[in-house]
Amino acid sequence: MGDDFGEFVRAAMPSLLRYGHALTGNPHDGADLVQGALERVGRRWRSVVRIEDPVAYVRRAMVNAHISRWRRRRRESLVAEPPEIPVDPAPSRLENEPLWRALRALPPRQRAVVVLRYYDGLTEEEIATTLGVSRGTVKSQTSKAMATLRLRLERTMAEGGVR
C-alpha cells in the first residue's frame, strides 16, 4: 500500500465526497460510498495506480457500487407495520433547491447517468462503458431523467416555488 495511497486519499477525499453527495443525494450515504470504494481500491492499489486517472477509476467504482446497492435494496419486503422513519439530523443545505429535490427523486440509475454526463462530462459512449450497459440504454435513461426533471421543475414553478 505505502504512503502513496495515503496521499491519494488525502488529496482526492474532498472531491470524492462531493461526487458521492451528488450521486446519492445525501452527504452521509455519499461518505459511506466513498469509504467503501476507497477501501476496495486500496486493496489493489498497485494495479490501480498504473491507471492514467485513478480518481476517475474511483468515481466509476462509486457509481457501480451505488447502483449495486440500489439493486439489492429495491427488493421490497412487505411488513405488517411501517418501519420507523429515520430522522435526518442535519438537513442538506440544498433542501430548498428545486432542482436538487427533483434530482433526489430520480431512480439511482437515472441519477447516475445525469451525474456522469453533467458532473464528469462523459459522453454517452463513455457512460455506457462505465455502467456496463448499451448506448441505447444510456440514451433512454437520460431522456427519462431529463423529462422527469423538467416535469417536476414545471410543477414547482406552477405551485409558486422558488426557482
Binding site: M1, F5, G6, V9, R10, M13, P14, L17, R18, G20, H21, A22, P27, G30, A31, Q35, L38, E39, R40, G42, R43, W45, S92, R93, L94, E97, L99, W100, L103, V114, V115, Y118, Y119, M146, L149, R150, L153
Partner: protein, 181 residues
Amino acid sequence: MSADLDDELRRLFTQDARLDVSARADADEVVLAGVRRGRRVRAALAMAGGAAAVVGVILVGALLAGFGRGEELPPAESPSVPTGTSTPSSGTSTPLTEDTPQTSSHATSAPGAPPLSRTPGQPDPSARRVTPPSAPTLTTSIGSPPSGTRTESGASRPTDPQRSTPSALSSPQRTVTSNSA
C-alpha cells in the same frame, strides 16, 4: 427550457458550494485502517483455504493409499486337477467332475436333502446323467470304485450309463469298458 436545464445542472454540479462535504480530520486514517483490515481478512481466508486444501489432499491420499491394502488375501492355491494316467494311444482322459468319490465327513446337509457325500461304490441316487452307451468315458477315480467299469488306469467303477455325462469344462471323453469282468 432544455438549455436552461442543462446549464442549471452544470452549475449545480460544478459550482454550487452547497454540494461540498467537509471531510473528517481522520478520514484518511479510517480508510487506511479499513484497507488493512480487509487485507488481513483476505490473508486469513487464503490461509484457511490453503490449510483446508492441504488437509483434504492428505486425507484423500491416505484414503487412496489404504485402499486395497486393508486385507491380506490368502495365497493362491493351484487347483488340484486330477491328472489322468491315460496315454494318447488309448484315448483316455480325465473328467473334472465329481466322479471322484468324496469322503468328507464333516459335510452337513439339511434334513431330507440328499447327502453331500457318499461312500465309494454306492451309486449316486441323485445323479441324472445320461451317457450314450457308445460314448466312452474315461475317468480317474481315487479310491476303489466298485467293479463293473474299469478304466485304463486299472480302476473300476460301476457301469452306470446315467453318470457319464461329459463335463462342461472338458471335451467329450472316452471310457473303455471292460467286459471281461
